[in-house]
Amino acid sequence: MRAKWDYVLLGTGLAPLISAQSLIRQGKSVLILNPDWDFFQEDSELPLDPFWPLEQESVKPERWKNSQAEPLLELLRPEFPGPVEVFSLQGDSVSFSKKTDSSAPHVRIRSRLWVVPEDNSTRADAIEQLYVVASDAGIHPQILEGPQVCKNFPGYSGVMNRDVRGVLLPRVCDVDVKRFRVGLLEFLREKKENLEIVCGVSGLELSKEGLRAYLSTTESSGLKNIEISGGLMVFWTPRMTTWIRKIWKDFDLSSVDLGEGSIQLWEQWNLVSREPVDPSWVAALGDFLVWADFEGAPGRGWDQLTLLKAGSRVKIESFESLNLHESWASQETFSSIERFCGQFLNWDKFSIRSLKPRALFHWKYPGTHRIEQDTPSSVPSWLVCGCDGSIQQVIQNAKNAVELVS
């Protein structure tokens, strides 16, 4: 491994990969250092914008726009080395051309459905507001009631007895984020001349010329000095927090508004029942966002229901002190899943297939910040915020960061 690099990218997840690709295109040499053992332990990217919580901030027209097929493909296609396919799951018809690459990552065009029980006036107001905002944005929302809502809700057992109301937004997209990330990583790992990816990095310290870290590569392992000529980009995800706070103690958190309740915990459950799961809708009810789980192009039966549940918000300090035991799969979560599956979907029985705990920042002011503090290093350093959350947000922030840095 060479000792001198134009840029060193420090982070986990998709954002460093996107940035590295842009920098390589500019002819720069890039070293990606990942403190995790690989690029898959922390996937900080959600396949869709959850538009959660349902408040003014979440339902801005520009966010809707980013979840439409054309802008989304414009964002994704230049960043992916292979084809990014589209298929539409609108209503009963599945539009899918045989000419497309079935193993490519797909942008899925589905309908998004927000549901509230009739007796919940606060949320009903939010739904009204959502309808207005969506209408203003030209999305053509529809208000649905009772059986119309139930019929389309993924995994609903077919008993039409719910007194519910919902707003439907057609043609909202989500992305096959897993394939996107794996495909990009595979492509980048082949760029051996200008790029090196090292995982399982420990003992990271700033030095005068750049960085010093314990690296273990196929060639050798040990403490290495890395000389950086262009800059150091640190992609801030919760996992990186401890290190960032250790190195840049005086960084003003208020500049990114990371204070009280800045980390949003999510739980991604996969459930199986005997009920069929309609793949053409992504639905939201309370703290849940649910959709049929499948990868790539349609083919197998969609029998698994993914349930993304918003958990509590915790302080950045509690994440650093790793005091998260109480947060995952609590009594409250079990009760609400049970209520949702039993009382709303009318399932008589279901299996829990998997649970993936996630911790994502709740950014108010994402962006890239130049670190101006006195450190042992003379290398320009940037802190890239907003590189976790929906895939649109991650890619956009990573691209912006590269523009600023280079």
Binding site: D38, L322, A329, G342, S354
Partner: protein
Amino acid sequence: MSLLVRDGKFDVVVAASPRVRIWPSVGVRVVSALCADLNLKVGAFGGSQVQVRGVIPVAGSGGVLFVEDTQRRVHRIEAKSIVKMGLDSHLPNPFPGWRSSAVIPIETAERLLKEGQLDWNPMVGILGTGNRALHMGTKLLQLGVPDVFCVEEPQTTSRKRISGWEVERRLFEMSGGQIIEARINRIKQKSSLIWELRVEDLLGIRVLEVSKLISAGPFSQSEGVREYPPSSLLFELEQTAQAVRSDDVEGYMLEEERARLLAVRIAKALVADPKEKREELERVQKRAKLRLKFSERHLEEPFEPQYSGKWSNTETLKRIRSFSGVPQSVHKTSTVASIECVEDIACNLCEKSCPESAIQIVRSREPESRRFLIEGDCTACGACLAVCPSQVPVLVREQDDRSFSKLTLGWKGKHTWKVGEFASLLNRRGDAMGQARVSKIPEFPETEGGRDLELFQWVELDVPTHLLWESRGIRPVVSQEAPDVELKNENEPIDQEARVFITLNGEKRLVRDDIPITVALYEMAQNRPEDALYCPDGSCQLCTVFVDGIKQLACQTRIRKGMAILVPEPGPEHFTDDEIPLCVCEGISCQQVVDRLKQGQLSSVEAVLSSVPVGSGKCHGQICSKAFERVLKGQGLDPEHWIDWRFPWIDWVVMPGGS
């Protein structure tokens, strides 16, 4: 009753992964006791009362464990350190046909041997040549199965040589078993009961007809204790111990000592100041390390008997005769025990059983300081013969001045010896050396330990003096007039009275009453690959069948008169002839895994799993995860320290608002 979650907190938790049969095994007891001694709050969750559903690791600070009790209450346990008691599936490296119903893991074979009336004829193949495989083979042969062979790839046979292997192999070969060094090519069904197994060795391909292929791992070396992620205090300890120490002395010792080392490690991390216990911890650690090191020493001084024709060569005989467990002079004046465990092994059952303390096992690096038998103190009571799981000790009385000497050995088998009968004498690898006459059937001595002594006999023989140090086994003399071996199962008499009619997939069948459906499916040769794990507590949850229209686990439901069983049709597997299925639930082949690994230059197990979701299907990796790890290992990736913490460990069935 709705789903009720109760919270709890522990410092250390030991959790049973699915299918763990023995609870609490020695490892669980050791970790619990050592940690509790240091005032750590310890919980052990497993057994028939509670089922562990899985762990959510919380990076750097232990994790959260989910346990369900018999009343379907969920206990949510926070712990600073978690030890997952893991179990190898003992399924082989994938080869064409490995997921067929003929291939069963050794745990299943052991249970079927105990509970079932399975037809093991005409031949049983065992994949693997470890102690447990040889022990199983010997047991089958002793129960009258005519032909048993153990097969192993040539380059891995030597690596299987764990401590105590030489004596197990000796007993297996003397009982009529055969060890084949060959590569498995394919297994294919020939008829409902017979499978065609193709193996390839240096001489070419040979085709063997087997009734079952028992898979007896481990198929790769393992450290037995893993921590993943590093420094997380989340561990996996392999369950190598059997319920009874004598069933696998080596495995018992390994689990015990590994658990000691692990407990010390946890204690050092969690107890800030162990005070007066510090010295004890150091002592425990040192002793465990020494014992583990000692168990590997046999590799430095292996004992591989060499033969000139049927006779042991001079070197081999010299080594046996000079071994400290073999009498040097007393055997010429009186009957005395000869204990020929030439290799170092961890077993000390004979030492414990000896009422005169004539057996004292002292291991040492220097051969002259080693001690085994104090021959002057031996009264030839025979207690050691009865207690030895490998039937190594014999009683000898050499009579130089006469043609015949006395040899007494233990016999276990279907044949019952009578005084005056002639027996074929066998050398240490099972070759017939000559004949001897049974001179006495001594009374069986009282022994402790509760071993299965059914079919056991103690036989005193008049042996030609020149064969006294060569003969270590016997078998009935097969005369020319003797009928051929009958190809029928003679293990148990068929009791027509205890049979009932049931309906299986719409067909009327006569089966034994009150046996688990899984056993009945095996006996009717209707078993599926899903039945292969046959766990004692239904924890794998794979063997579902419909009994009178209701979904039940076949291993947990017993046969009763008139029941209608519907076995669900297996799902389409979508594999071509060239692809070897790895994860059947998700339809992933070995080649797909290798391709993804190479294309992505993936460097960790998690990375590969993110690309190909092996083990995320219904079985949650219980069938394929070990095979998957071995595929990765074959591609140069080291999965040794990885632990699969994916949640839950098995499908967790929830009934909203139900009981």
